[in-house]
Each structure stands twice: as structure tokens, then as C-alpha cells.
């Protein structure tokens, strides 16, 4: 990758300079970089998507932009549904950048690995995550990338905040919801094999909260069975 593609775009750069922030991203992903920045005196992060150069440039820019708007819109919808996600503060479509509230805290992944989570903490995480996912699903939103890296534990009150709506999409299909849950289950069993009880708590809270839990959980069981078969065949 050339240094040029790594540089923040002009408006973002101006904001980083104006708040004496580091122009190094705090996170560098496959499709996005995340920077710490201040906007109107408030601590934010700027998530900037960049074009994957191996795709057609024009198609790519269009995809990047539609992803970006979907991500920002979905975060606002999630909060409307009562799901704790960062506030969106500003969207710069031209620079493919979403500015949002900076969550002070750590990834759930780190919290689980710290060895400091009690059974009681797990129960609370499970409850909050199950309720959040059920509200998203009932509101017709599939998160698309439910992992313990895309859930953060907030310092101020220990609450779980859902982040990274970059792969989210609208759907009410039980299949899509089932897959969403299955992705989460796999993420937990793979990354936290001794804490899979967390997923049981998530399902229990989901079942209590979602109006459509029955069709979703039936489909989830099928998705899971398919997944098992596939992994046995190899």
C-alpha cells in the first residue's frame, strides 16, 4: 500500500490538525481506518472507508459510499430502537467518513480475556447483548458482523455498546437473523471457548425480548445444523 492511500483526506486532516490529534489511525482494518478526533469540542472517532484498489474504481466508490450511508443510517435507527450504539455526529459522504461519539472502554473481547469477568458480569453482558440483538432484529436490522470485537464495554457504567455497522443491512427474514446469531455464536466459541455460557444467556434474553423469537430460533437451529454438517465434511 502506498503512503498516499494511507493519508487522511483533506477535511479529516484539517480536523485532526485543528485538535492536535495524531494523524495515525487508532485502528486500521481491511476497509476502514478509525481516527481520534474532536468535533465541536467533543471527543469523536472518524471512521473512514477506503476504496479497495483491486476493484473497479468507479464501482468501488459507489459501493463505498452506499456502505457508508447504510452504516450511518443504521446507527441512527439502532438508537431509535433503543439499542446502545455510538451517536453519529457528522457524515462526510465525499470523504467516505462517519464521525461518531468516541466510546471510552474496551472491546468485549478484551474484557472477556482479562480474566476479571465474573459469572455475574457474564450474565449482565449476555442480557444486554441478547436484548440489543433482539431489538435490532425486530426493527428489521441485521448487524452482519456480530463478534466480540464489535461490542464494546463502556468504562463509565460497564454497559455493552454495539459498534461497527459496516456490514449491516435491512432484513426481516428468519434466515438472516438466524445467521446473524450463528455468527455471534461462532465468534464466542472460537475466541472464548471457556465462556460459551455467555451465548446461552444471550439466547435467553433474545427469547424474552423478541416478538418473533420462535421463527428466528427455529431457523437459527437449522443454520447451526447446516454449519455443523459443513464443518464435519470439511
Amino acid at each position: 500500500m502506498t503512503t498516499e492511500t494511507c493519508a487522511p483526506t483533506p477535511a479529516l486532516l484539517a480536523l485532526l490538525r485543528a485538535c492536535d490529534g495524531s494523524i495515525e489511525p487508532r485502528s486500521q482494518g481491511a476497509e476502514a481506518r478509525v481516527y481520534d478526533v474532536q468535533l465541536s469540542g467533543v471527543e469523536c472517532v472518524a471512521k473512514q472507508r477506503f476504496a479497495k484498489t483491486y476493484r473497479l474504481r468507479e464501482l468501488d466508490e459507489r459501493l463505498t459510499r452506499s456502505r457508508l450511508s447504510a452504516e450511518a443510517r443504521t446507527m441512527v435507527r439502532a438508537r431509535k430502537l433503543g439499542v446502545l450504539a455510538p451517536h453519529v455526529v457528522h457524515v462526510d459522504a465525499k470523504e467516505s467518513c462517519v464521525y461518531m461519539e468516541r466510546i471510552r472502554g474496551c472491546a468485549l473481547k478484551e474484557a472477556l480475556r482479562s480474566g476479571e469477568t465474573t459469572r455475574e458480569d457474564l450474565r449482565r453482558f449476555g442480557e444486554e447483548i441478547g436484548v440489543a440483538v433482539a431489538k435490532l432484529h425486530d426493527g428489521g436490522i441485521i448487524h452482519g458482523d456480530l463478534t466480540t470485537s464489535n461490542l464494546m464495554v463502556r468504562d463509565e457504567d460497564g454497559r455493552v455498546v454495539v459498534i461497527d455497522f459496516g456490514l449491516s443491512y435491512p432484513s426481516k427474514l428468519p434466515e438472516d437473523k438466524g445467521v446473524d446469531l450463528y455468527v455471534l455464536e461462532r465468534a464466542i466459541t472460537a475466541a472464548h471457548p471457556s465462556q460459551t455460557v455467555l451465548f446461552d444467556d444471550i439466547l435467553a434474553a433474545y427469547k424474552k425480548t423478541s416478538q418473533m423469537w420462535c421463527s428466528t430460533l427455529n431457523r437459527f437451529a437449522e443454520v447451526r445444523a447446516r454449519g455443523r454438517k459443513r464443518s464435519m465434511v470439511g
Partner: protein, 179 residues
């Protein structure tokens, strides 16, 4: 006179915005007419519909960026600020909701500075024109919460998350162009 806190400004030499807030205004109509006629080169807002300083700040920032990029959709920088406060690109609606009206008692007047940081004589013009009590933005009095909630479709589930009304409004303003 208060400066719109403008930490968001892109680049050091870009014009900043200043604001003046008046309570107990008795001649809102004349002020609005002056802005409409162009004899007051500033944006005139109804204090009750501006949810907070951050919202105003972000509206100014977005207006600035849009104009710098030649993407402005309203007539002029100051109309662009009013549009920036809205969740839609309907200029008429934005003026009705956020612009000063005949019956406004609190007015927030915002103007961009010129490139060298001067106020283009706006302050003197504002002082001469507005009949009311100059106050600070934070002392502008009650906002019209009920209307703001309706316009921006902000419900209890969202407010129960513990964020402020202003945060909720900011998010609607933010997705205006991608909604």
C-alpha cells in the same frame, strides 16, 4: 458578542462564525425582513428551535464545507446554516422551523467573518437593528422541545438510552444527505 465555538473549522484561515443572541425581541419581523432583503448579511434563527451550541456549530461547519466544495444547495452561506440545522434538504421547511419569524422573541443571529477575521460591520448593524436584550446563547431561554422531538422523530426508546436531546438531533442532521 459570542463566537460560535468553531473547533470544527477546516483549516486555520477559513472564516469563523460569530453569533449574537437577543431575548425579549420586539421587532423580529423587521430583523427577518432585513435578512431577507440582504441589508443584514447574517442568518436569523429562532432561539427556541436551536437545540444547542453544538448543533449550531455543526450547522456552520457543514455550511462552510458545502460552500468550499461548491456543493451548497441554499441561496448563500447564511441560508446554508439554516439548512444545516435541518434533517431534510427542504429549504422552505428549514426556514419555517429554524429561521426567525414575526413572533420570535428570542433571536440568534449568526454571521461568518471575512477571511481576515473581521465581522464586516455586522455587529454594529445587528446592534442598531435588533430591539431586544443582548444575552448569551446559553441564556436564550427554553427551547421548543416538543416540536424538536416531532420534527426529528425522537422517541422515548432513544432518549431512555441516556443521550441528550441534542445528541439525537445532531445524528439526524448528520445523516441529512445520506438518508
Amino acid at each position: 458578542m459570542a463566537r460560535v465555538r468553531y473547533d470544527a473549522v477546516p483549516g486555520d484561515d477559513a472564516p469563523e462564525a460569530r453569533s449574537w443572541t437577543f431575548a425579549s425581541v420586539t421587532n423580529a419581523r423587521a430583523v427577518v425582513d432585513a435578512a431577507r432583503a440582504g441589508t443584514l448579511d447574517a442568518c436569523v434563527l429562532d432561539g427556541r428551535s436551536v437545540v444547542g451550541a453544538r448543533a449550531l456549530d455543526m450547522a456552520c461547519y457543514r455550511a462552510r464545507v458545502a460552500i468550499d466544495r461548491g456543493e451548497g444547495v441554499a441561496r448563500g452561506a447564511h441560508a446554508e446554516i439554516i439548512l444545516g440545522l435541518s434533517h431534510s434538504r427542504n429549504v422552505g421547511e428549514a426556514f419555517r422551523r429554524f429561521g426567525g419569524g414575526e413572533t420570535s422573541e428570542t433571536l440568534v443571529i449568526v454571521a461568518f467573518e471575512d477571511a481576515s477575521g473581521g465581522d464586516r460591520g455586522i455587529e454594529a448593524r445587528v446592534m442598531e437593528l435588533v430591539e431586544g436584550r443582548l444575552t448569551s446563547f446559553d441564556d436564550r431561554g427554553a427551547i421548543d422541545e416538543a416540536s424538536i422531538k416531532t420534527w426529528f422523530k425522537i422517541g422515548d426508546a432513544e432518549l431512555a438510552l441516556g443521550g441528550s436531546l441534542e445528541d439525537a438531533v445532531l445524528s439526524r442532521m448528520a445523516i441529512r444527505d445520506v438518508a
